[in-house]
């Protein structure tokens, strides 16, 4: 402590020479830093002749590179004398100032930075270039970046010097990190060791690590979407089955596998015994199991084509929302059941929150695929929404919030709140009252749930989402009602027709008129339609209100 004042004079040029000194020091094999006493032997920089003329330049002047410009070639010079010599090359008149007869007074220069020790005239530096470099290095921006190690320098020559040795000398930490600078290495080591100690103290939960691993695989979901786009464009439904294999195989290379056998809830074979193929098709199931890693919110019904309609509908329901868009898959499945076809529907439950011990089939995206095979222009929508979903990790609180925001579940002030949030966080969560019909549907649709569970056996996948007697409070119930209605009355047909119009408004109107069940269906898809529009820019308030009004007036 007492040595504070005595050592302070070292600051300036010592600092300047740091860059070049560094390389020498790096070559020293010693691990201990050089003892501070070493500095005392060095000459004290910035101790000018007291007679010298002290020059204080503003930063601007100091850093001006080309004050003297050649009028012929625009080359700039820092000193007039140099310009004059240059002019000679152009055969222009030139004149060098003659050395004055009397002894030139030695000049010293101040650093313009007031907090700098070299701002003090007693510590001025005798070299203009030196003070310039000092100022750049110590108080300037590091404009020059090494391409190899990204280290930045304020002075170009420093970068040049560095690039000669960059990469030739490396420090490697036990953790595998490489450093080209010894001091960075040592700083890192201090933390690395400390962290290693900390790590050994903190227990972590393996399961949750799994969750985060899964999360890292977002891109898979996106590739899925491309596959599904192909799927939907296929005219042949047999082909859709093979495409599905393709889809599955896209899932296989995923670097993780379930750490434990999935809970029974992951599969929903269905109570009506219509899924004979289920237990036989192990391979498919397994691969599906893996593909659940895409994200737990995805539902993959079997795509083995059976009827004319099924290739498109099955493809459409690839990512359907279990709560309502299941209409389509349920439709095809129901048909196939009636015809005795082997139709497996496999519901990939949400495995992400394995830590929570629960698995719920909940998907966020439904109508997207529908629109996908109806109108190609909606592919972009699909991809967009996939991306926004891929933000979701497992079913964490964040994921729940985002899901709620996307479903517009929160109603009332809530829906506007979400929108407010969406605008401040993620652009993809910005739908104006996105599907705000859903929440209400859940609220008043619960009653019909039980009856329909018994009657509509082909709705198994949806049922299972509400399995164990627990209804999904706001979400599922409305979907069930919609599902039942649409199925029994053939609402899907009108739904598909409406979709083919490619216009949400028309669609909503036409299918609204047809039947009660598809009212809800319409409403639900309106929600997604809202997303479509909001993404492409603006949805008419009329639609929104229409859907919501319907829902609100729906008798409980």
């Amino acid at each position: 402590m007492a040595a504070a004042s005595s050592s302070s004079p070292f600051v300036g040029v010592r600092g300047e020479e740091l860059q070049s000194d560094m390389k020498q020091q790096q070559k020293q094999p010693s691990t201990a830093p050089p003892p501070p006493t070493m500095k005392k032997r060095r000459n004290q920089p910035g101790n000018p002749n007291p007679d010298a003329e002290v020059i204080a330049l503003s930063p601007k002047t100091l850093l001006a590179t080309n004050r003297f410009i050649c009028e012929v070639c625009n080359k700039g010079f820092q000193r007039e004398q140099n310009l004059q010599l240059h002019r000679r090359g152009h055969n222009l008149p030139w004149k060098l100032r003659l050395k004055s007869s009397k002894e030139v007074r030695r000049r010293v220069y101040l650093c313009p930075e007031p907090t700098c020790v070299h701002h003090d005239p007693s510590r001025a530096l005798g070299d203009l270039t030196g003070i310039k470099k000092h100022f750049c290095r110590k108080h300037g921006e590091k404009k020059w970046k090494c391409d190899k190690c990204s280290k930045r320098y304020a002075v170009q020559s420093d970068l040049k010097a560095h690039s000669k040795t960059c990469g030739t000398r490396e420090y490697r930490c036990d953790c595998g990190t490489l450093f080209s600078r010894r001091d960075s290495f040592i700083t890192h080591r201090a933390f690395c060791n400390a962290m290693a100690q900390e790590r050994s103290r903190i227990p972590t939960v393996g399961l949750n690590n799994l969750g985060s691993h899964l999360y890292g695989n977002n891109t898979m979901a996106l590739s899925l979407s491309q596959v599904s786009a192909q799927l939907s464009s296929l005219p042949d439904h047999r082909g859709s089955g093979s495409q599905f294999e393709h889809l599955v195989s896209a899932g296989n290379p995923s670097p993780f596998s379930p750490p434990q056998p999935p809970p029974q809830a992951a599969f929903y074979p269905g109570n009506n015994g219509s899924n004979q193929g289920f237990s036989e098709d192990h391979q498919l199931h397994n691969s599906l199991l893996q593909s659940k890693a895409f994200h737990g919110l995805m539902q993959l019904p079997d795509l083995q084509g059976n009827t004319d309609a099924s290739s498109s509908t099955a493809a459409a329901s690839l990512f359907n929302l279990s709560f309502f868009s299941n209409n389509s898959s349920a439709r095809s499945i129901g048909d196939s059941n009636n015809e005795g076809n082997q139709n497996n529907q496999i519901l990939i439950a949400n495995e992400f929150n394995g830590a929570n011990g629960s698995s719920e089939p909940t998907t966020l995206f439904n109508g997207d695929l529908m629109s996908d095979h109806v109108g190609g222009e909606m592919n972009s929508l699909y991809n967009t929404s996939m991306q926004s979903e891929s933000i979701l990790p497992r079913m964490s609180a964040t994921a729940l919030l985002q899901k709620a925001a996307q479903m517009g579940l929160t109603t009332c002030g809530g829906s506007s709140l979400w929108r407010g949030f969406g605008s401040s966080t993620s652009g993809s969560l910005k739908p104006p009252s996105l599907g705000s019909g859903m929440g209400g549907g859940g609220g008043n649709g619960g009653d019909g749930l039980q009856a329909q569970m018994e009657n509509e056996a082909h709705l198994q996948n949806l049922m299972n989402s509400l399995a164990n007697g627990s209804s999904s409070l706001f979400v599922g119930a409305g979907g069930v009602a919609a599902l039942g209605g649409s199925f029994t009355t053939g609402g899907l047909g009108s739904f598909a027709t409406g979709l083919r119009d490619g216009d949400e408004t028309k669609f909503s109107l036409s299918s609204t008129g047809s039947l009660r069940g598809s009212d809800r269906l319409t409403r639900d898809f309106l929600g997604v339609g809202g997303m479509v529009r909001s993404i492409s820019g603006g949805m008419s308030g009329r639609e929104q209100n229409h859907g919501i009004g319907l829902n609100a007036l729906d008798p409980k």
């Binding site: 830093p33 907090t115 990190t177 890192h188 011990g357 609180a397 009332c412 605008s423």
Partner: protein, 474 residues
């Protein structure tokens, strides 16, 4: 009481059919019969069903609290109580902290009750426990350590070649950061400087502990060291007491503290005023929808326009003068770590939603790395995060200290105060990423943005680290 409440809500549900379909819709969805405590299925709700349910209830409850309709808010709180649990899954935990905050907020309409309940609060929150919670947070999440390592790297770089270094810690509650700085300085190629650390904190015990701890470490590392303890709250800190001398190279560090200076008497300080502004919140949903079309991001909403002007670059006088006095010390570097969230909106609704998302992410962090039953985790959630939530939701005016703001606002503010950005270095980023790697949980990320670092959980930025220096030559 419960059946009565149910009737109230139902009545309102039916009466509002005529007024607004949207409103009806919301109220129908929450009709209490479906949430009766006697429904067995309620307890069998799966985690994310329950989570969605809680979110729904919380937001509606917040709306009612903001609107001052306590009867309805109470009905919601009852329902939430059935689902929330401070030791359940992340959403249940969040819900319990937010309901507590909402309840406090609601109670403010009865100042007598509120203050009576609050009268022993200072005793309930002993200093040691709060410090322990912070310490646990340091251990359980990498954020504070990231802040320390990045700040220290920036300070080290700024102090390269300096022989006399003075570091001012504006929230000196934890010696961890400075121990690592001591180690880093020890390893400097040019040798360690003479180091003086000034710690500002309102509790002397913490400062004493810190002084002892740091002096030991400096002794061990053989670094000339001096600790200067300033017992003061940040908002009445006299910069003279920092004893900054000429010839010292000054660095200022503040971790999650500077926002408290944003507290000001913004018109809602006492409950009576809060009550007066309450009718403003009683907008119909239609109003909400319209308002929200107009008000995205920072554009002032109806409410904010009425309650207090919230001009983008303005700071409360106290913050301005404080930054000005810091600028007067001409630090070579000032490193600021702050919560990356906008918890300073004047309208409760905005704050509530923003806080819900923010703390959901934080609770997720804990949920992903710490077992449910961990006492440390419970302490962090209650004593640290829970207190912040309560402050954000329940307090107004001078009492509302947790006024977190996003980096862009800080940048404006610092710029106004004469500080220019000092880009954090690549090595800082490298070290931060290393640290995360050694932490071993992949959800955490460090992003570089305009020379500042954002500490993220998954893709959501939660904390920002930025370095500043005095602008002199512009």
């Amino acid at each position: 009481m419960a059946p009565l409440m149910a009737n109230v809500v139902q009545d309102e549900g039916s009466s509002s059919v005529t007024s607004s379909p949207l409103k009806t819709f919301s109220l129908m969805s929450l009709s209490p019969p479906s949430l009766s405590p006697y429904s067995p299925w309620l307890r069998e709700l799966k985690s994310d069903e329950r989570g969605l349910c809680l979110i729904h209830l919380l937001l509606n409850c917040a709306n009612h609290v903001a609107a001052g309709s306590l009867d309805r808010a109470n009905a919601f709180l009852e329902q939430i109580a059935l689902l929330a649990a401070p030791d359940g899954d992340a959403m249940q935990r969040i819900a319990s902290h937010f309901t507590e905050a909402l309840a406090r907020r609601a109670l403010r309409l009865w100042p007598g009750l509120y203050h009576a309940l609050d009268s022993t609060r200072a005793v309930v929150l002993p200093l040691a426990e709060a410090a322990a919670a912070r310490r646990h947070f340091l251990d359980l999440c990498p954020f504070l350590r990231l802040s320390y390592i990045v700040s220290n790297q920036a300070i080290m770089e700024a102090m390269e070649g300096e022989r006399v270094v003075h570091v001012v810690d504006l929230n000196a509650s934890d010696p961890t950061q400075w121990i690592s700085l001591l180690q880093g300085l020890r390893a400097r190629p040019e040798g360690p400087p003479h180091l003086k650390i000034t710690g500002v904190h309102e509790h002397k015990e913490l400062l004493n502990h810190m002084a002892a701890r740091l002096s030991d470490e400096a002794e061990r590392l053989d670094i000339p060291f001096q600790f200067n303890a300033v017992v003061s709250r940040l908002d009445n800190l006299d910069v003279e007491s920092l004893r900054v001398k000429t010839g010292e190279a000054l660095a200022i560090s503040t971790v999650l503290q500077l926002h408290s200076l944003l507290a000001s008497n913004d018109g809602a300080g006492d409950p009576r005023q809060a009550q007066r502004t309450a009718p403003v919140s009683q907008l119909t949903l239609g109003d909400y929808l319209e308002k929200d079309h107009a008000a995205n991001g920072y554009s002032p909403s109806t409410e904010s326009a009425l309650s207090s002007p919230f001009a983008p670059a303005s700071s409360p006088a106290r913050m301005e003068s404080f930054l000005a006095s810091l600028w007067g010390l001409s630090p070579k570097i000032m490193v600021v770590t702050e919560q990356e969230s906008n918890h300073n909106a004047p309208a409760l609704n905005e704050r509530f939603v923003e806080a819900l998302f923010y703390y959901a992410a934080l609770f997720d962090c804990l949920d992903s790395t710490v077992p449910r039953q961990s006492v440390e985790r419970l302490r962090v959630e209650k004593m640290l995060l829970g207190e912040e939530i309560k402050n954000i939701i329940a307090c107004e005016g001078w009492e509302r200290k947790e006024r977190h703001e996003k980096l862009e606002r800080w940048a404006q503010r610092m710029d106004m105060a004469g500080f220019g950005p000092l880009p954090l270095s690549y090595y800082g980023l490298l070290q931060a990423r290393r640290l995360l790697q050694s932490f071993g949980c992949e959800g955490y990320k460090v992003k570089e943005e305009n020379g500042c670092f954002l500490l993220c959980w998954q893709d959501r930025p939660l904390f920002s680290i930025a370095a500043w220096r005095c602008k002199r030559y512009d």
